[in-house]
């Protein structure tokens, strides 16, 4: 008897996307530099039209009138060229993504073809008793083929859309009228889609919903055209914010760098450029970070970038790991006198926290983010903690922090992460405000070196519930001593920022946070040791971030007997460093 097995046809490789991402980025860089030249040109003309100090009269009037019109005609040229450059950058990034998808698809096609050959060999050697099995394998391969054909067509569609977006961008700014228009360099896709963008006041859920309803081509077009609006929009995926903010950063570096080279950088622009450079340094650290002793390279994200905010102090957030997919996400909130220029050092702390969470973790994906999203007080702690610091910035920052966390939540509506917020120093007071007054949507909160928990008198005042409030206090930390302990209310002498969260009265879960380098008495150096690698504090923070909160090393609360000064039971305990299960936070000897 003759048995027929229909083995499906082999598949050709999927055609590769054309073009080269790095080359396209070079083109974008060249356009950004050209845009910077045009922007600088218009700024210079504006100066050259002001002649009142040395030339007055009809001829002067005629000149200034003409020159001003000339400047106006060129005003939009630089911004238009900049938008096209951004679009080319987005094209390049998407091309990179498509190249990766193409590689993976061709691997699948090769595996499918091999499976067909193998089936053919097996069929030739099989007898009739194996016919059913062989048919089953052939049917399975036919189904697989259908999927691969569909994926090939889908990839081709995405490649075509990406190329069309690029062509449309170039064509949207290739006439004089388009170059001079406020919409020059914006694709029709973006112009149509931006109208649907909800206002921030409609909430991050509305933002997330709007974004998820757009096509990939519309999303790319919007990122290219409106990076400033998307980079800080709560509710958008972190990937989108990151891509938008990187465009803004690259533009600042190119534009302001060009001005610096020409000697025409204004003082406020100098600050902006310094912030941009600090961010670039932090981002490089995040992008290049490889967890010590492993091949794990989680990558960096620029979640927030605004180098001109707060009079040049800036707003910035840099993450290690993927905020869109990680099971465990943490946000680190800094304290007084932190500005954007400090971002690289804090990003290293985020990396060390990432390491601790992964090294001692349960294998879940982790992302840790340093968030400077509020205006930290600029006061000198040595001068002002005893008087003028106040809680105003903590309250404002608490609301912004709660909004940021709500944005992260909304960006992952069907994939809720375990989310921890860690506030250090004045940032702990800010975090307390977020959790007490603004319904912080975190799972766990940790306060470090806290000068006081702001409006909260007890851990149960926090939105996360008393069982999810943790506190780390080094017994020598001079700042952490400022909170109220027991009957000793430091607000009586206008010091401190509320109840000490390490105290028995507050009743948070205090964890061990002593340092082997601690001083003999209270000092400010110990205030900065909570993120030290292989420290008790970083070990426990890693456990909290990873969601292993039952396995932290608890410490007894401080307390305040009425007959004597406040007592910290941690004062006489011998600290450890690098001890497994206690203070080992990564591969020893590295990092």
């Amino acid at each position: 008897m003759k048995t027929t097995i229909n083995i499906p046809d082999l598949l050709d490789e999927a055609p590769a996307p054309e073009g080269e991402a790095e080359g396209a980025e070079s083109f974008a860089t060249s356009l950004i530099k050209s845009a910077s030249s045009l922007i600088g040109f218009v700024e210079e003309i504006a100066i050259l039209t002001r002649t009142d100090d040395y030339w007055v009269g009809g001829a002067a009037d005629s000149y200034t009138s003409h020159a001003r019109r000339f400047a106006r005609e060129h005003e939009e040229h630089g911004p238009t060229l900049k938008r096209v450059a951004n679009g080319v950058d987005v094209f390049a990034e998407q091309l990179r993504t498509l190249m990766r998808a193409h590689g993976a698809l061709n691997d699948d096609i090769a595996a499918y073809n091999n499976a067909c050959y193998e089936l053919l060999r097996n069929v030739r050697q099989a007898d009739d008793t194996q016919a059913t099995v062989m048919r089953g394998r052939a049917d399975s391969l036919a189904a697989r083929r259908t999927v691969l054909v569909s994926e090939t067509a889908d990839l081709q569609r995405r490649v075509t859309e990406n190329e069309q977006l690029l062509i449309e961008l170039l064509e949207s700014a290739d006439t004089n009228a388009e170059a001079a228009a406020k919409t020059g360099g914006i694709s029709s896709l973006a112009l149509a889609a931006i109208d649907g963008m909800p206002a921030a006041s409609e909430g991050p859920e509305a933002m997330a919903s709007w974004w998820s309803g757009l096509s990939e081509a519309e999303q790319d077009a919007l990122i290219a055209a409106y990076p400033g609006r998307l980079g800080s929009a709560d509710g958008l995926p972190a990937r989108v914010r990151n891509e938008s903010n990187r465009l803004l950063l690259d533009t600042d570096l190119a534009e302001l760098g060009e001005k610096e080279a020409r000697g025409i950088l204004a003082p406020e622009e100098r600050k902006q450029l310094e912030n941009a450079r600090a961010t670039a340094e932090a981002l490089k650290l995040a992008d290049d970070y490889k967890m010590p002793g492993t091949e794990e390279q989680p990558g960096g994200l620029l979640w927030l970038y605004d180098p001109t905010a707060y009079g040049g102090d800036g707003r910035v957030a840099v993450a290690i790991g993927d905020l869109d997919t990680a099971e465990d996400v943490s946000i680190q909130v800094p304290g007084i006198r932190t500005t954007m220029k400090d971002v690289a050092g804090y990003t290293q702390q985020a990396a060390d926290l990432y390491e601790s969470a992964r090294f001692n973790g349960d294998g879940s994906g982790v992302a840790t983010m340093f968030w400077l999203g509020y205006d930290t007080p600029n006061t000198n702690p040595f001068d002002d903690l005893w008087g003028t610091l106040g809680e105003g910035r903590a309250k404002e920052g608490g609301e912004l922090l709660a909004d940021a966390v709500s944005g992260l939540r909304a960006s992952r509506p069907d994939d809720r992460a375990h989310l921890s917020v860690i506030g250090h120093s004045y940032g702990s007071t800010t975090t307390s405000y977020a959790a007490t007054s603004f319904d912080l949507q975190a799972d766990d909160v940790a306060l470090l070196g806290s000068p006081g928990a702001g409006p909260a008198d007890h851990a149960s005042d926090f939105s996360v519930g008393a069982d999810h409030v943790y506190d780390g206090r080094n017994s020598r930390d001079a700042v952490a001593f400022l909170g109220d302990e027991g009957w000793a209310r430091k607000d009586w002498v206008e010091a401190g920022l509320g109840v000490d969260p390490s105290s028995r009265d507050f009743d948070a879960k205090r964890f061990e946070a002593e340092s082997v380098e601690r001083g003999d008495s209270r000092n400010f150096d110990d205030h900065g040791r909570y993120y030290d690698r292989n420290s008790e504090s970083l070990y426990n923070l890693g456990r909290i971030v990873d969601g292993q909160t039952d396995d932290i090393n608890r410490a007894d609360h401080s307390y305040d007997p009425w007959w004597r000064a406040a007592v910290d039971p941690e004062k006489d305990r011998v600290p450890s460093s690098g001890v497994p299960g206690k203070s080992l936070t990564g591969s020893e000897g590295e990092g």
Binding site: S37, G40, F41, T51, W55, H77, E163, D174, R262
Partner: protein, 99 residues
């Protein structure tokens, strides 16, 4: 002509020179645009890129020429003001000498 007339040699020495400097920047921009590397773009976008760059080079070129015209005209204006000043001074000196 109404109102006052004030003139300083800065029109010729600074203003005209600054326009010249702008013209030089724009000449550099023209060169930057003409050498913009389009090799990484896909073949389907090469034509659009050429048209785009050609237009922007023309834009830079026109702006450069306009800047040169401003520089020349302001320089000549300065010279004319100074010549007029010198001529009037000469004539008044002559009148004074004849009195």
């Amino acid at each position: 002509m109404t109102g006052n007339i004030e003139y300083s040699s800065q029109v010729r020495t600074a203003l005209a020179r600054n326009w010249d400097a702008q013209a030089a920047e724009l000449r550099a921009l023209e060169s930057k645009l003409s050498s913009a590397p389009t090799g990484g773009l896909p073949p389907s976008a090469q034509g659009a890129a050429r048209t785009f760059l050609a237009m922007w080079q023309r834009t830079a070129s026109k702006a450069r020429i306009a800047s040169e015209v401003y520089a020349d005209e302001l320089f000549e204006t300065g010279v004319a003001f100074e010549d007029l000043e010198a001529e009037i001074t000469r004539r008044l000196d002559a009148v004074n000498a004849g009195l």
